[in-house]
């Protein structure tokens, strides 16, 4: 573990990733201290102000301070990323374990269902779920989490299939360890590295997909300061008030760049075979 961290810190790009990702987490944690205005307070007299000392990133068509909204939006972004990855990883890992350990009809059933899920391109699947459940942060988390299942399940199933044949698993079974114990104590540790790497990618993917869906009105509804939703309000003012769109977009980019660099770095350190 310590070794991993040390090696990660020796990669300049991974360090940049850590800084960007850490910055996002800090921003989310201390959002109320950083905001200079109420992120949803409307102020008609201040509408569509260009960036200035009073409003660093300008204001939107309702006079809301973009800087405060962007800062506050980091909380939604972190929530979306963390929770959707949690939904994806927990469900996918559990399914992969079951399929790989029990094989037979359990494996067939799980694999078929996941294959069908894979037949829908990622974003389309999320759009379909949001269309069913309606827009909102919770539904977005469910949608982005669900479509992460097949990716995790596939990695875990493969690792389980190879690990289940190992002697130490056989040994554990001989001394009477339960199936759950074998899966959790002996097989699960094998898949930690690929799961962490995939999680970094998915976190970035969730931010991109989430803000994209919010942008077209299928994600987090507008008064909330979700980055994509803020950009959607700026769409009508591209010619006159570019700042409504440009700043939130930059934040999304930096946040996703952070987790992508971190993910690449982790992959190089944890699993050199997966190197691309």
């Amino acid at each position: 573990m310590r070794d991993t961290v040390v090696r990660l810190l020796h990669q300049p790009l991974a360090v940049v990733g850590l800084v960007l990702f850490g910055g996002l987490l800090l921003m989310a944690a201390f959002a109320p201290l950083l905001e200079r205005y109420d992120p949803i307070a409307i102020s008609v007299s201040e509408r569509l102000r260009a960036p200035s000392d009073a409003h660093l990133f300008g204001t939107d068509d309702f006079g809301r301070d973009i800087f405060s909204r962007v800062i506050d939006g980091s909380r939604l972004a972190v929530k979306l990323g963390v929770l959707s990855v949690a939904v994806a990883a927990s469900g996918g890992v559990a399914l992969g374990l079951l399929a790989g350990y029990y094989r037979g009809w359990v494996d067939t059933l799980i694999s078929r269902v996941l294959e069908i899920m894979l037949a829908f391109p990622d974003l389309l699947f999320a759009i379909a779920i949001v269309a069913i459940l309606g827009p909102g942060l919770e539904n977005l988390i469910i949608a982005l989490g669900l479509f992460g299942w097949p990716g995790y399940a596939r990695i875990v199933r493969g690792s389980v299939l190879s690990a289940a044949r190992r002697e130490y698993v056989e040994a554990a079974r001989t001394i009477g360890a339960s199936a759950t114990r074998i899966m959790v104590r002996h097989i699960l540790p094998n898949v930690v590295a690929p799961v962490i790497i995939l999680s970094a990618t998915r976190f970035g993917g969730a931010l991109l997909a989430g803000s994209g869906l919010s942008f077209i009105g299928l994600g987090v509804p507008i008064p909330q300061p979700e980055w994509g939703a803020i950009m959607a309000t700026g769409r009508d003012y591209l010619a006159t008030a570019w700042w409504i769109t440009v700043f939130p977009g930059m934040l999304i980019m930096l946040a996703v760049l952070g987790v992508n660099l971190l993910g690449d770095g982790l992959r190089d350190v944890l699993d050199p075979r997966l190197r691309t």
């Binding site: 069908i116 829908f120 269309a131 069913i132 309606g134 591209l238 977009g249 996703v256 691309t276």
Partner: protein, 293 residues
């Protein structure tokens, strides 16, 4: 597989809260009218019966029902829009493959040098930019500032430029990364040493021997990404007012036009499966070993 997809698409709409009959009847309909519409649409039947009817209509009549918004056949609605999406998606496939593969080759040949760092840095930044952000930035620059390209519409090739570039972004970045990785792997193999040893130019070695083998994983990626591109088109088409299937679907979602939602989702899933099948066939052509495998 196709059956599984059709059941999933069918269930998707069934699980939707909000009753299509109520929506259709409008705000001021009496319960009796709603009940009548429900019977007409067969919504009062048990689920398996409804699914059987859905499939019967689809298979025997090639019909997906009628749009509740326009009253036209869903298949007609989709076929009207499909060419636009295909043009957009295929342009993006070609563009991203050309740009992505070339950059990947450049990076691999110059491994560790400045060109490698620049292209790979560019690739990871490209992967991190939301496509709709790139789209909006391009609109600000090329349409609103320079007045080179129109923002919305689909009347000339100029309308295609920005949507296609935006849609290609992630796909090109991924292709560049994969091309570099597979090419580096291939370049280390023995037969390339042979090729070099017999005095071939480095360019001939890379293009004729290495790239051809590296193309195999890349072609899988092209197929896999086709689905992603169709999904991405949902957002891009909305920004540029491109009258494709993605825009149709989003409008359908907002008006709760279920048959159209069902139809577009089914279409994209099927297109995705077909693209993957095409890749499998392409495989055998690119790599003769697979035919005997």
């Amino acid at each position: 597989m196709l059956i599984g997809v059709s059941i999933a698409v069918f269930l998707m709409v069934e699980l939707t809260p909000g009753d299509p009959a109520t929506v259709l009847a409008g705000d001021y309909a009496s319960p009796a009218v709603i009940e009548q519409i429900r019977t007409e649409l067969g919504l009062d039947q048990p689920l398996p019966v409804q699914y059987a009817r859905f499939m019967e209509r689809l298979v025997l009549h090639g019909s997906l029902g009628t749009s509740t918004r326009t009253g036209r056949e869903v298949t007609t609605e989709i076929l009207d829009r499909l060419p636009y999406t295909l043009v957009l998606a295929l342009t993006a496939v070609v563009l991203s493959t050309l740009v992505g593969v070339s950059l990947g080759v450049v990076a691999a040949i110059n491994r560790g040098k400045r060109a490698d760092l620049l292209t790979m840095g560019g690739a990871i930044v490209g992967l991190s930019v939301p496509t709709f952000y790139l789209a909006l930035l391009m609109i600000i620059l090329f349409s609103l500032t320079l007045h080179w390209l129109p923002v919305t519409g689909a009347s000339s090739w100029k309308n295609l430029v920005m949507p296609a570039v935006a849609l290609s972004l992630h796909s090109a970045a991924i292709k560049a990364r994969i091309t570099r990785a597979t090419l580096l792997e291939v370049l280390g193999q023995e037969y390339l040493r042979t090729a070099r040893a017999k005095g071939l130019h480095e360019r001939a070695v890379v293009v004729r021997h290495a790239l051809r083998n590296a193309l195999i994983p890349i072609s899988t990626l092209v197929g896999l990404q086709f689905g992603g591109l169709l999904g991405g088109a949902f957002i891009i088409e909305n920004i540029f007012g491109w009258p494709g299937v993605g825009r149709l679907a989003t409008q359908a979602i907002f008006t709760r036009d279920f048959p159209v939602i069902q139809g577009t989702v089914l279409l994209v899933a099927v297109a995705y499966l077909v693209a993957n099948l095409a890749v499998d066939i392409l495989y055998a052509w690119l790599d003769p070993r697979i035919r005997y495998g």
